[in-house]
Each structure stands twice: as structure tokens, then as C-alpha cells.
């Protein structure tokens, strides 16, 4: 209770300083928030595309049914594979006629069906990445009656590179800002400690515990962090509304992410104040 009262009093005593450190945490988390928003929307977009990441194994016309069944069983046994579907030449033609109606007549005029029979390998969610896709197609290509295995390799690669760049940028920028915020929180606390050095001295003198002396500063740091989290949330939300209204349609992040961000702000504030306090309280 003493700690809480003191932390609040510290806020009132130096509103500019605590405000500044909150604003910095806010800015740091805002950057993280923006990238989080972008990442979330990218992920939404990607996952709809990703569902279509599958491997098409084209078979020679002279492949025997027993051979095809063998390959099908083999592919289905791969842990990352969700399902394998056989598409006969006729199926392929039917699908082409549906999906490409403008060629409908052309197809029906043909005497021989030019489309190959194939196996469509669908991957489990979470395994739709270049490595798995590559591995699955390599094992299919071992069979002599397999004509080709395709999966739009470059496209899949790009998709994943894009995603990695996004994650890396968020991490790098977020931690750079977090570092600056930590320094500012540390400075604010150092000033607060300095302003209260006489009280701290007396507390030590008369036997207040270390924890008791530290607690108000810890709380102050955590409050600055939480406030920063709130600022970041407000800024990110405002940006989201702006983009939604004037640029294009985007989705808001799940509530869990927002809560996590705020919590991160509070924890971050408490953590950076722990570091600052550790060094500067002992010196008094």
C-alpha cells in the first residue's frame, strides 16, 4: 500500500518525466503494434493462399493402377501429408471445363484428352512450407512413371521470405525502440531515486527491507510501462481506423495480441526498472 501510494505520488511529482518515459514505451510498442497489425493481416492473406499450397504429381498415361496405388499409399504415409487424391484424366478434363469455361468448346472438340492423370497431395496446416513441399515432390519423382511434380516453388519461397522479413523487421525495430525506452525508464527512475535519496537513506538507516525500498520504484516502472502499452494501443488503433477508412480494408488484431502487448508494456517497465534500481539504490 505504501509502495502504491509512493508510486502514484511519484507520478504526480514528476508528471513530465514519467509521461515522457510512458510515451517512449508507447512509441516502442506502437512500432511493434504496427508490425503486429501488418503481420496479422499478412498472415490472414497468406493462410488463404497457403491452403492452396499443394503438390501436384503428374503421372504418365501408361502408369499402371497398382503402381499408382502404391505411390498414393507411400505419399499418404508421410507425416506432413493430410490427404492424397487421385485425379484421373477424365476428372482433370471435367475440372478444366468448369474452371476454364471459355475453353469449354475447345475441350469438347478434342478427340484425345491431353490432360495428364495426377495425384494431388494436400499438406497439413503448419507443414505448408518450402522444405516439406520439396521433400514430398522429391520422393514422388523417384518413381519412373512420375512425369513431373509441381508446386510453384519460387512462389512458395517468396511467400515465406516475405513472412520472415516481416518478423525480422518487427523484432529488430521493436527491440531497438525497447532499448531506448528502457534507457529512458532507467533515467527517469534514476532521477526519482536521486530526488528521494534522503528518504532512501533514512529507510536504510532505520531498517526498512530492501524489497520495501524497491517496491515503489518497481511499481512506478510498471505503471509507466502499462501506460505506455495503453498509448501504443491507442496509436495503433487510430492508425488502423485511418487505414481502414482511407486506404484499404484491414482486420484488427485479436484481443489476445492486444492484451499481450499491454502486459508486455507493464512487464517491460517493471523489468527495466529492476535493472535501473539494482545499480542505483545500492549506491545510496
Amino acid at each position: 500500500m505504501y509502495a502504491l501510494r509512493e508510486a502514484i505520488a511519484a507520478f504526480r511529482r514528476a508528471p513530465v518525466l514519467t509521461g515522457l518515459s510512458s510515451a517512449m514505451v508507447g512509441l516502442a510498442l506502437y512500432v511493434v503494434g504496427l508490425f503486429g497489425l501488418a503481420a496479422y493481416n499478412l498472415q490472414l492473406a497468406l493462410s488463404s493462399v497457403e491452403e492452396r499450397v499443394e503438390v501436384a504429381v503428374y503421372l504418365r498415361d501408361d502408369a499402371r493402377q497398382s503402381e499408382i496405388d502404391l505411390l498414393l499409399t507411400e505419399l499418404a504415409a508421410i507425416p506432413e501429408v493430410r490427404s492424397v487424391r487421385f485425379i484421373s484424366k477424365r476428372d482433370a478434363m471435367a475440372r478444366a471445363q468448369v474452371e476454364l469455361p471459355e475453353f469449354g468448346e475447345l475441350f469438347s472438340d478434342l478427340e484425345v484428352n491431353p490432360l495428364p492423370q495426377s495425384l494431388e497431395v494436400e499438406l497439413r496446416p503448419g507443414s505448408r512450407n518450402p522444405e516439406v513441399v520439396e521433400r514430398v515432390s522429391q520422393s514422388a519423382l523417384l518413381y519412373p512413371f512420375v512425369e513431373d511434380a509441381r508446386y510453384g516453388r519460387e512462389w512458395v519461397d517468396k511467400l515465406f521470405t516475405l513472412r520472415r522479413i516481416g518478423a525480422a523487421t518487427t523484432a529488430v525495430l521493436g527491440s531497438a525502440f525497447a532499448l531506448v525506452a528502457a534507457l529512458i525508464i532507467g533515467t527517469a527512475l534514476r532521477i526519482a531515486i536521486f530526488a528521494r535519496r534522503e528518504e532512501i537513506y533514512v529507510m536504510r538507516l532505520v531498517g526498512a527491507t530492501n524489497g520495501f525500498i524497491r517496491r515503489p520504484f518497481l511499481l512506478e516502472g510498471a505503471m509507466a510501462g502499462l501506460l505506455g502499452g495503453a498509448i501504443a494501443w491507442a496509436l495503433t488503433y487510430a492508425t488502423y481506423r485511418g487505414v481502414y477508412a482511407y486506404l484499404f480494408e484491414v482486420a484488427w488484431m485479436p484481443d489476445g495480441w492486444v492484451a499481450l502487448g499491454m502486459l508486455a508494456g507493464g512487464l517491460f517497465g517493471a523489468f527495466s526498472s529492476t535493472l535501473a534500481i539494482r545499480r542505483h539504490l545500492e549506491a545510496i
Partner: protein, 229 residues
């Protein structure tokens, strides 16, 4: 209460401030620690208060040993050992009452008990009429009384006082000394550092330690009744 065994304190580049000092102050004793300037009085007080650790030897205070107690547990000693300084070290900008209440607050006294207890302590040192005055508006003697009330707040077993009368005139000095003897009469051990030999002569019943260049050269208890070798 306080036991020093072959205690030495060496400051880097400054040499020994204390060399092989041993003494034992028992429960309820009153002792002066004297010696000229730089002889190591304040150093001894700091070691007893464990705000500094000896380079050699052991300091035992209210059951805690300098060899064992960690920084984390120092507070337990501090609540059992009151400390009064020459320059008072009160919190400026607070009243006498607030200065005493602060101690009670930060050492976990229940809220409702804080103000009555602080009032009682100020009454004990004869300052209750001035409890609402800001400490920087009080005289030196009055400020020292506030400091003593503060030192007594945790009901310590030992009171350490480093030149407590150094900034006071004769009248105020006598007042503070009377207060110390009162406190001592209630069973609290008092160790007071002073270089004022005239003052010491006025209290012939007190025990006297004398330091010279960091060495203990006189202990009245041993001089009067030497212990067998």
C-alpha cells in the same frame, strides 16, 4: 550486545583506521568512545551499525555476526540498533511528527498505530508541544531530540550516537545527555562517540573506551578491575 573481536579496518590507500580492536559492551551498559580526531571513532560506529564491514576480525551486534549476515538481512540489525548523528540527518520539509512517523511507516507498523506511537515518542524526548513544527524551524537541540525519538521508534536494544552533542550548546547538550541516561535506565545499551573529555568527566559512572590511531588504548572497565591474564 556489542562485541568486537580483533577487529581491523583498512581503507584502500588510507591505511588502517582500526587495528586489532576488541571490546565487549554488555546489555544495559553506557559507554563513551573517545579519542582525538581521526582516531577511528566513527569507523567503529559504522562497523557496529554494519554500514561497513571489518577487514579482519568479527563484529557481533544483537546476535548477528559481521561474518555471516548478508546485505539482505541488515535491516534486522537496524531495527535493533538506533543511530544518532552529529548532524541529525532528519528529512527536511517534514514536521517532527512526520519524521518519526516515517520510520514507523517504513518498518511496517500498522497504520492506525503510527501517529499515536510517534506522539508518544516525541513526548518521551520532551518535544510534544513542537510535534507539528517543520524540522528546519527547530533549534539544534530540538532537532537532535527528534532524531533520538526516531532512533527509538523501533524499540532498539542499543543506541549508537556519533558526536550527538557536537553541534549543540551546553544547555542542549545537557538535555540530550539526560535523555540518554533516561533511555539507558530503561535497559538500553548506549555507545556514544565524543572527543569532549569535559563531558565525559561529568559522568564518572559511564564506561570509557579510548582510541588512538585506530588502536584501543584504554578501557575503564579493565583499568579499574583488570581481568586476569
Amino acid at each position: 550486545m556489542i562485541k568486537l573481536t580483533h577487529v581491523s579496518k583498512e581503507y584502500p590507500r588510507r591505511g588502517y583506521a582500526l587495528r586489532d580492536v576488541s571490546f565487549h559492551l554488555k546489555k544495559g551498559e553506557f559507554a563513551f568512545l573517545t579519542g582525538h580526531s581521526g582516531s577511528g571513532k566513527s569507523t567503529t560506529m559504522r562497523l557496529v551499525h554494519m554500514s561497513d564491514r571489518p577487514t579482519d576480525g568479527e563484529v557481533r551486534v544483537v546476535g548477528y555476526s559481521s561474518e555471516k549476515v548478508t546485505q539482505r538481512h541488515i535491516w534486522k540489525i537496524r531495527r535493533r540498533v538506533g543511530f544518532v548523528f552529529q548532524d541529525f540527518r532528519l528529512l527536511p520539509g517534514r514536521t517532527a511528527l512526520e519524521n518519526v512517523a516515517f520510520v514507523l511507516e517504513v518498518t511496517g507498523t500498522p497504520r492506525s498505530a503510527i501517529v499515536p506511537k510517534a506522539q508518544r515518542l516525541l513526548t518521551q524526548v520532551g518535544l510534544s508541544p513542537k510535534s507539528g513544527a517543520y524540522v528546519n524551524e527547530l533549534s539544534g537541540g530540538e532537532q537532535q531530540r527528534v532524531a533520538i525519538a526516531r532512533a527509538l521508534a523501533n524499540e532498539p536494544y542499543v543506541l549508537l550516537a556519533d558526536e550527538p552533542t557536537g553541534n549543540l550548546d551546553d544547555r542542549a547538550t545537557r538535555g540530550v545527555m539526560d535523555l540518554f541516561w533516561d533511555i539507558n535506565a530503561k535497559g538500553m545499551a548506549v555507545l556514544m562517540a565524543t572527543h569532549d573529555l569535559e563531558l565525559i568527566k561529568r559522568y564518572p559512572h559511564a564506561r570509557v573506551f579510548e582510541l588512538d590511531h585506530g588502536e584501543l588504548v584504554y578501557d575503564s572497565a579493565e583499568a579499574e578491575a583488570p581481568v586476569e591474564a
